[in-house]
Symmetry: none
Subunit: 227 residues, 2 copies
Amino acid sequence: MQILVVEDEPRLAEAIAQILKEKKYMVDIANDGRDGYDLAVSGAYDCIILDVMLPIKDGYQVASDLRKEHIATPILMLTAKDTVADKVKGLDSGADDYMTKPFSPDELLARIRAMTRRQGEVVLDEISFEDLTLSLSAYNITCKDKSVHLNFKEFEILRILMSNPAAVVTKEDLIVKVWGYDSNAVDNNVEVYISFLRKKLEFIGSCVEITALRKIGYRLEVKKSAE
Amino acid sequence: MQILVVEDEPRLAEAIAQILKEKKYMVDIANDGRDGYDLAVSGAYDCIILDVMLPIKDGYQVASDLRKEHIATPILMLTAKDTVADKVKGLDSGADDYMTKPFSPDELLARIRAMTRRQGEVVLDEISFEDLTLSLSAYNITCKDKSVHLNFKEFEILRILMSNPAAVVTKEDLIVKVWGYDSNAVDNNVEVYISFLRKKLEFIGSCVEITALRKIGYRLEVKKSAE
DNA sequence: GAGGCCCTATGCAGATACTTGTTGTTGAAG
DNA sequence: CTTCAACAACAAGTATCTGCATAGGGCCTC
């Protein structure tokens, strides 16, 4: 975990660095706003601790310039200014959090944990099987660089197949899960959509195919090389 | 923008709600930890303001339970407890920010802005997609030199669409996030506002359009050149 | 009471979902 | 080896239902 400390007073900067290093964070220090900005635009840091009163370029400016460049690194602003107006200015210039000096090391660490925690959260947004990727938010399938949109029923069916690639899914299962247990859909309905899906898999050139196992159901498989 | 206030003292809850409503936030209030949790798990809120000392289930518990359920809604913890240990406990139980009473309304609002900003990776005051820019403070959209005002519902819908341009947003999602999860708005309401938005996009000559994907939802797309 | 905002109702167009029918495939019985 | 029944795939046609646009009415603010 990389942290950038932008602070012009060497002793304070060193003290903060020490606190962080003890917790195994990797720390870089910048002594003025310009250096801080230059380091931060790399996007290499997981968190930036930013003083407000800085030579050359103040903290508000640094934060706001970073946001303009679409650098989304969490910023914790750290300063002696404790009026509400200062806090509002800091937060609105792009900071995610604002702490006033003097501060407690434990609180600093807790706020860093809170800010960086969010970073690692991956939104489960897609399912993959071999070279095939199903996007749950965009409702399409992608293989290499080609992608194609799925309509509702196709999507639901493929999602069920892909969420359990090894398993064989019966038509009854599909009807219950896609059409609803009280529907009067017939097997042929499923066959029709399977056929649509096969066409789309073919179109994007995926190596995945939907195999029918007679009397049993459907399963995803990797195409045999000898086509 | 939906905000949940979890606070057992009715007068304070009402005061907070008032501050927020003035800024056009939609506010729900829960009076104890259990109700707060039940409302929050819906995932309908953009932000939760959470008191610590609550009947039935305290704020730490609520925050930590929500995180266990993978509800990532930003939480601002609000309490009279101001020791470092309390702050650490609050932040580590899942809160994103921690404010002590008494607090300034302006600071509260600034911290809410800071927390919700990250949601859509908004650069300060505006969101952009292709040639379209949505101003969060002026409630209007601009394309090249033309701009047009949006009313509240139009604005909220477009903000949601633009904050995640690749994703398909269902009508359900829009109803929950714009009308509130307990509203009885119907799909047609959404359709009407989508229709208004399209007219305004057309009017300012944007290359962005709102595409409907049947049975799935809406998505922003760039207009095909061959009109 | 004028104007803006929000919701409801309605007719229409077109995409989607389902049906039907033909052809192809499989496997077991004769 | 042939025949037949059961099952599967697919194309094409039809009907339904979703989504769109527009109009009108209630409500609130100014």
